[in-house]
Symmetry: C2
Subunit: 388 residues, 2 copies
Amino acid sequence: MKKRIEGLKKRMEDNGFDLVLLMHPQDVYYYAGTSQPCNLLVSLKEEPVLFVRRAWDFAKQETTLENLKFGASLGDLTKYLSSIGLNKGVLGLEEDVLPARLHRRIKEYFSDFKCENVSPLIMEQRLIKDEEEIDLVKKASSIYSHIHEAVMNNLRPGITEVELATKAWAAARKAGHEGVSVHRRWDGFLPGEGVVTSGENMWKISGYAMTVTGVGKSKAIPCGASDRVIQKGDLVLLDNGLNYQGYHGDIARTYVVGKADERQKEVFSSLLLIMEEILNHIREGIAVKDLYELAVNKASEEGYQEYFQGYGSQKGEYIGHGLGLEVDEPPVVGPHTDLKLREGMILAIEPKIIIPDWGAVDLEDTLCVTKEGCEIFSPVRRKLYEVE
Amino acid sequence: MKKRIEGLKKRMEDNGFDLVLLMHPQDVYYYAGTSQPCNLLVSLKEEPVLFVRRAWDFAKQETTLENLKFGASLGDLTKYLSSIGLNKGVLGLEEDVLPARLHRRIKEYFSDFKCENVSPLIMEQRLIKDEEEIDLVKKASSIYSHIHEAVMNNLRPGITEVELATKAWAAARKAGHEGVSVHRRWDGFLPGEGVVTSGENMWKISGYAMTVTGVGKSKAIPCGASDRVIQKGDLVLLDNGLNYQGYHGDIARTYVVGKADERQKEVFSSLLLIMEEILNHIREGIAVKDLYELAVNKASEEGYQEYFQGYGSQKGEYIGHGLGLEVDEPPVVGPHTDLKLREGMILAIEPKIIIPDWGAVDLEDTLCVTKEGCEIFSPVRRKLYEVE
């Protein structure tokens, strides 16, 4: 953690920040080792100070930082800054997540500071994972083997999506899932259970994610498992954000109830080739947009460009995303990301073919970029599983 | 829904707003009947317009509004406003949830408008529920009977908190739970499963809620069920935010594994008296702060003031909260809320006694305020359940 604070200070210096105030639980956890309600002040000159807003005993026991204060108010922060003679400069705030009203209050308290968005720096630092983080993502990903087993044991004609989802959930929780998939967003919602969907729900792209979403139980929460009764011959998808001690794996597999028919096999085998094309090219140094282009080209070659990553206006320009303390972190693996892969990046790669009035096939693997290629953490084979 | 838009326009007029732009899914759902990604524009002069950012087919089918446009960008909104000659005035935004960065972008696009926080007006309107909303809260609350049954059937010495939580979850989902409990907050997290906790975890107040929280599996997500193995004699709490078609019930019951000992009975019977004192006084016209004071006085009379709603610095000044489309809505039922109860308000009342190194007892009921009293929606009796 000391290294992380040093890394932040270096970035602050390079980008003209004098002071950073972090309030988002995942950022505080990253630098301070606790996700209790805290305000973390990092200045260039002093040791970082953790102002604990609640749950002092927890924060004290958990944090790796040495300077703790009990203080819930913004006044506590400015009083402290006065005491160390830091009264002006550039103040970094997490403006991608901090609500406007709170942001305004902070600006009032820090009226002699100039506020700027510090989240890009933080997310850039979090892009490259250290050994401990990589190990946790690996463990998170391994939870999928228990979900897979639950699917193989319970997926039958007559079971509903929700029933299957709760079987998978129970297995995941028992295997270590923290029970929450963390998203860095203010709107939208995805069920903690992940997406469990089937049949005609496979091509209905609903809600806040441009992917196979499921339709949920009602229009109030229109994603995830529904009460649809699964039938023989159905395609079924499980797509799970798995949280182990704060770090996420994100894995999806497609199943078919009974024997796959010819078209299901054919579409899936094309998807598999697209996935292999992507995975074969992942290594340090490749440009993210080149990776995306390779995937699109392969999808064309297979004859599925029209349905690759959705269809019509419901098409997403991406084949994956970073992840770590949040299920969805930079980079977007897509055509508009100007970035080369580096060792230690964690990615979820998720090609899919979604064909209206037919169905969808989807594969998602979580992996770590290495110098020569990548290490894939998904614990079950990439295949179209026939469940009988 | 037409009435809701009229109610909003009335409030806009009374408070000097010319235009309101809503982006938060629950607010959009309240006024437009869809929670798909949309921007809802309500002006004093024109019919409201729903700009659908994604999932057009869903939004079109779901919404009760007539004017729909497909448009994902802020430019689409300002272009439309120009076309109707609305180029300046006071613009209401949801500043309690809108991130600072997005807020700034909106201000750039709407540079001739003065932006103000419209969320208090919206939450004030949402305070009084209509018949349909009350019916959904009732149905949400009834889900607890299935959770209760799962607890009675599965709570035994040797089961872990997480195992019990997944049994309760499966029952709740099967009975209609949408799978997500919606919170209007940017930070913190509570597991969708709710709080399932026991034994020494009962008095460890962790994380973002000042209540019996549970400690979770790790410090990364420090609330909810843990891997603790439940023992004979343990107190066990289930506290669940239940979502039925978008509306929440919030219900908690305390259980004991085996026969309750004398102290457990005694503390619980005091809690029951406090709860009855509160419930007996709820009716249209009573001031929220008087209700709070009655509860605190009763807790004193019973000798538990020190432990009522927590202890030491971990004490919450509240005995309940509003709820509806979100689990936690205004009002806070506490000493700082200047409000009288009105017919149609939905409240969750949750007195608790938390004694360090001993345990905790907790009761939570969801109810609707009526002219003469209240209608309580919780489907299971208030008692300390001995599970053998």
